[in-house]
Amino acid sequence: MDKALNINENKLNVLFPFHFFIDKDLRVISTGKSLDKIMPGCINCSFNELFNIKRPKTDIVSFNSLNNLSNSVVILRSKTKSNLIFRGQFLLFEESETLLFAGSPWVTSSEELTHHNLVLSDFAIHNSISDLIQIMKSNEMVMNDIKHLVNSLEKQKQEINSTSTRLSALIQNMHSGILLEDENRKIVLINQTFCDIFKIPLSPEPLKGADYTNSVEQSKHLFTDPENYVERIENILEAKKPVKNELLYLTDGKILERDFIPVFADDKYQGHLWQYRDVTEEKNAQEKIKASEEKYKGILENFDLGLIEVDVNELITKSYPRFSTLTGYSEEELLNLKATELLFEQEDKLVLEKQNELRKKGLPSVYEVRIKTKSGEPKWVMISGAPIFDLKKNIVGSIGIHWDITLLKEKEQELKSAKDTAEKSALIKQQFLANMSHEIRTPINVILGLSDLLGESKLQEQQLQDIETIKSSANHLLFIINDILDISKIESGKVELRKDSIDLNILIENLNKQFRPLADRKNIQFNLEISSLVPKFIIGDEYRLQQILNNLISNAIKFTNKGSVNISIRPIRQQTKKCTLQFNIVDTGIGIDKKDHAKIFENFIQASNNNSREYGGTGLGLSIVKELVRLYKGNISFTSEINEGTSFIVEIPFDISEINNTTNNINENNNEESVIKNKNILLVEDNELNRVVATRYLEKWAVVYDIAENGIFAVEQACSKNYDVILMDIQMPQMDGYHATKLIRTLDNSNNKLTPIIALTAHAVTGEKEKCINAGMNDYLAKPFKPNDLLWKITSAIKENLKTKNSNYNLNYLNEIAAGNPDFLKQSLYVFLNETPKMFNDLKQALLNKNITDYKFIAHKIKTNFHILGAHETFNKIESIGKKLPESSIKEFEEVENIVSLICDDLKTELNRL
C-alpha cells in the first residue's frame, strides 16, 4: 500500500497491471507489474522519454496538459519499444499531485502479443483485449470461410454458366421445338425450331422473359382440333405431371409429338419444359410400314403361308397365325423356343443346321423339309428362309416362310410311282418287242434265205411262183415287224436323223424301180416327176426319207384300183445353201372319209376297219411318216375325198450338199465277190437253220469259213486262227456275242484283236447297234438280211481293214480335226501336196551333202505334216535315216521317196474326189 497515494497498489495491479504514476515533473514514480515486464526500467524516467501522445493532439506536454486529458481516451506510443501502443486514461490524484495512467497495450492479434512477449494473463481478467483478439481471430476465420465460399460460388457460377451455355446451344440446335417457361409462364428459354413450328415471327433471344400465356390462343388455329389443343394445355399445366409422346395433328398435314416436363426444386414448382417434335415423316413411314405389313400379312394369309421370325440364337421372336395353323402350336407356345427343337425330328435337324449356317453367312435359300406338328402329325413344308439385317447391316435373325406341301409331296409320290410303273411297262414292252422281233426274224431269215437260194435252183414255173409268194409273205411279215420297231424307236426318242449326202436322182430312180412294177401289176399309171430346180444333192437321212416316201407311195398304190398315182418333187423355198422340197403323192384311189381325217395319223389306225381286212397293213405307216416328217422339222398335210382320191403333201427343209459322198454298193456284187473269195471267215451262230442259210451264201461266195456254235467256241477259234472277218450272232447260249467279242479283243492269245467283227442279230430294237459297237464290234446287220447286204458288209470290212493295214497314211485324224468341214480337209491336203515334194528334194540334197544339221532341220519341219496325215511309219523311216548320217544309204532314202510319191498320188486322187 502506498500511503502517499493512499491506493492499494496490489489491487491496482490486479485491475490495471499496465498502469504508471507520474509526478508534477513528469517523472515516472511507479509502474504496474505487466508494464514493468514489457518496459522495464521506467521508474524515474521522464514521461517524454518514454511516450509520445498519439491522441488527442497535445502540443506541449506538461502535468497540467496531461491532467486536462482526464476526460479523453489517450493513446500513447512507446518510445522505447517499437509498435507498442497503450490505450487508457489519465486520472489526477490531488493529494499526491500525481497522475495515474490506467490502461493497457492495444493489440489486435495474438501474434502482436507474442511479439511483445505478452500472454493473456498479463492482462486484467476484466480486460476485453483477449476478447478482441479472439473476435479478430474469429473474423479472420470468417473471412477465410467467406473467401473459400466466394471462390466456391465463383467456380460453381462458372460451371453453371458453362453448363447453361452448353444446354442453351444444345437446345437451340435441337431438332425439337423447346420452350422452357417459369412458374408464371414467362419464357426462360425457347429455340428457333419452336418458333418455326408455331410460326412465331421472332428470333428466340428477344422472346426471353415474355409471357407466353396468350400464345396458346394465338397458335391454336394451326391444329386440326384447336379447342382441344387449348383445353389439353390447360389440363396439363394444372396437373403438373409429365406427359410423353402425345400426338398433335396440324392442319397442314404435319404431325407433332409433344412432351411436357414439370420442373420442381425442393418440391417447389419452378416451371416446365415443352418439347415438340415433327414426326410427320416417321409417322407416315410407320403408317406405310403398317399398311405394307398388313398387305403382306394379308398376302401371306391368303397364300396360306406360315411365317416366323427368329433371332440369332434361333429363338422364335414372332409367329404369324398361319404358322400356328400349320404347326398346331399357339404363338404363345412358340415364342422364345427353338423351332429346331420343337418341330423337327433328329434326322431332319441336319437339314436345318446347314440352312442356319447359310443364314449366318447372310444367304437366303429355299428348301423342303419334314416337320412334326403339335399332334405329332408329319408334314412336308417348303421353307423360304432369309436373313434379317438391322440398319447397320448386322444379321439380327432370320425369317422363314413355310408352305405346306404335304399334298404336293403325296401327289409327287403318286406320280413317281406312276412314272416307275410306266417305265417298267415301257421296259417290258421294249423287252417284249426285242424278244418278238428276235423270235420272228430268226425264222424269217431262214425262210427268205432259203427261198432266195431255192429260187436260184432249177425249178418249174409254178414252183418259182410259190417261192415268190413265200418271199412276199415273209417280206410282208418283216415289213410289219419293222413298222412296229420303228414306231417303238420313235416313241422312245431314239431315232436320230443321219446327215448324209443324198443323190435325189438315185432316190427317185430307186422309187421308180421299186413301185412301177407294183403299179403296172394293178394297171394304174405311175408318174414320177422331179423339177429341174431341185438340187442334185441334199443333206439328210436317206433311209428315213425313203421310208417316208415308200410308205406314202405304197399306200397310194395299195388304195388305188384304177387311175393313177403321181409323184412330184419341187422346191418351194430355196436359198444358197438351203432348200425346202415339196413332195406330192397324189392318187385317184378310194379316198378317206372326212370323218376319218382326224385319226389317220394315229397309231394302229386305218381310215376304215374294212381297209385292214381288204388291204392289209398295221395302221402304223402314217404314224411313222408323221413322226419322221416332224423329226425332219417338216410338215405333212393331205386332202382327200371319198372315191376321188387322196393327195399328200410333204414339205421338208434340207441343207444343200455340194458333193456326193453317197455310196452305191448294191450293184457291184461281182467285184465284192472277188474281194471276199478265199477269205477266212468265222461264223458264230447257235441257230442251226441260220447256220445253214449263212453257210450256203458263204459257200456261194467261195469263202473259207469256220463255224462256232456259241461264244465260247468263237473265242477258242479266235485264239487258234487268224480270220479276215468274224460274223457274230448276239443271243446265244452259254456266252453271248457281246461277251465273246470283248474276250476276242482283249485276250493276250487272241489272234483276232483287230479283225472286223460284224454283228448278225435278230435284235433289231433301238440301241442294239450301239451296244454292239460298244462291245468292240465293227458293224451290225439285222436279221433277216438280204444276201447282198451281208456281202457288202463283209467286203467293206475287209477293204477297210486292208486299207488300215497297208496304207502309208491315214486320214482319220485329219477328218477328226476337220469336223466335217470339207474346205479345211481340202486346204490341208493342198498344203501337203504343195510343200512335200520340194522339201523332200531339200532333204535329199542334205543327205547327199551329208549335212546332218540341214537334214534334221528339214525333217523337223515336215514332221507335223506327216503326223497329221497319219504317215507315222514313213516319217520314222525319214528320221531313222537322219540318225545314221553320214553313213546313211541313198538307196534307203529312195525307197522312202517312192512311198512318199505314192502317198502324194493317193492324196491327189482324194483331193480331186473332194
Binding site: 495474438s110 505478452l118 483477449s130 470461410d145
Partner: protein, 183 residues
C-alpha cells in the same frame, strides 16, 4: 459443436485417408453439409455421427477416433489457426487448463449462439488438477480426452489423464483427473 472442430475432423480424414473416404463417412453419417463454417455452431450429434461413421469406415474404435480427433484439433488445426493465441494464452499446460473456464466464458459472450461446454478446475495440489466437464450431449468424453492429450503435447508436457466420472454413468459431468509426474 463449433464449426472449427467439425472442420478439423474433415481435414483429419481427407489428409490421412483421402476425399473418397471422407465422402463415404459423410454419406454414412447422413451429414449433408458440404462445408463447415468455422464460426457456425453445429449440433454435437453431427460430430458424434461423423465419429461413428469414421469408426465404421476406417475400422477403428470410436474411442480411438474421438481421441484422434481431439489430438488432431489441438496439434494441427488449433496450432495452425489458434497457435499464437493459445501460446499467448498461457505459459504451460496447467495454466492453459486452469484458464479454460475463463476462455469458455468469453466464448459464450463472443458467440452467443454457441453453447460451449463448461469447465471447472480444482487445483488439488501442484501436481494434480481435477477438471469437471459439463456438456449437454453424451458421448464426446473421449473427444475431450483427446483434446487434453493434445494440450499436453502442445506444451510438451507429460501428464496422466484419468476419467473418473462419466456423464452417462449417472453423473451430470465427466471428471478428468490430470496428474503431472514431475511437478
Amino acid at each position: 459443436m463449433h464449426g472449427v472442430v467439425n472442420k478439423a475432423i474433415n481435414r483429419l480424414i481427407t489428409e490421412n485417408y483421402g476425399e473418397e473416404d471422407w465422402n463415404e463417412i459423410k454419406k454414412d453419417s447422413g451429414a449433408d453439409i458440404d462445408y463447415f463454417l468455422s464460426n457456425e455452431s453445429y449440433d454435437d450429434s453431427i460430430t458424434f455421427k461423423l465419429a461413428g461413421s469414421a469408426s465404421k469406415v476406417l475400422n477403428f474404435s470410436l474411442k480411438q477416433v474421438l481421441t484422434a480427433f481431439g489430438e488432431y484439433w489441438n496439434l494441427n488445426t488449433g496450432q495452425k489457426q489458434y497457435g499464437s493465441l493459445m501460446q499467448a494464452g498461457c505459459n504451460s499446460a496447467r495454466e492453459f487448463i486452469i484458464n479454460l473456464p475463463h476462455f469458455h466464458s468469453r466464448v459464450t459472450l463472443i458467440h452467443p449462439k454457441l453453447t460451449p461446454p463448461e469447465f471447472k478446475i480444482h487445483e488439488i495440489n501442484d501436481k494434480v488438477l481435477a477438471m469437471y466437464y459439463f456438456r449437454i450431449c453424451n458421448g464426446l468424453t473421449y473427444l475431450t480426452d483427446g483434446l487434453i492429450q493434445g494440450i499436453g503435447k502442445m506444451f510438451n508436457e507429460n501428464f496422466e489423464i484419468k476419467i473418473t466420472q462419466r456423464k452417462y454413468h449417472g453423473s451430470d459431468r465427466d471428471l478428468f483427473e490430470l496428474t503431472w509426474q514431475n511437478g
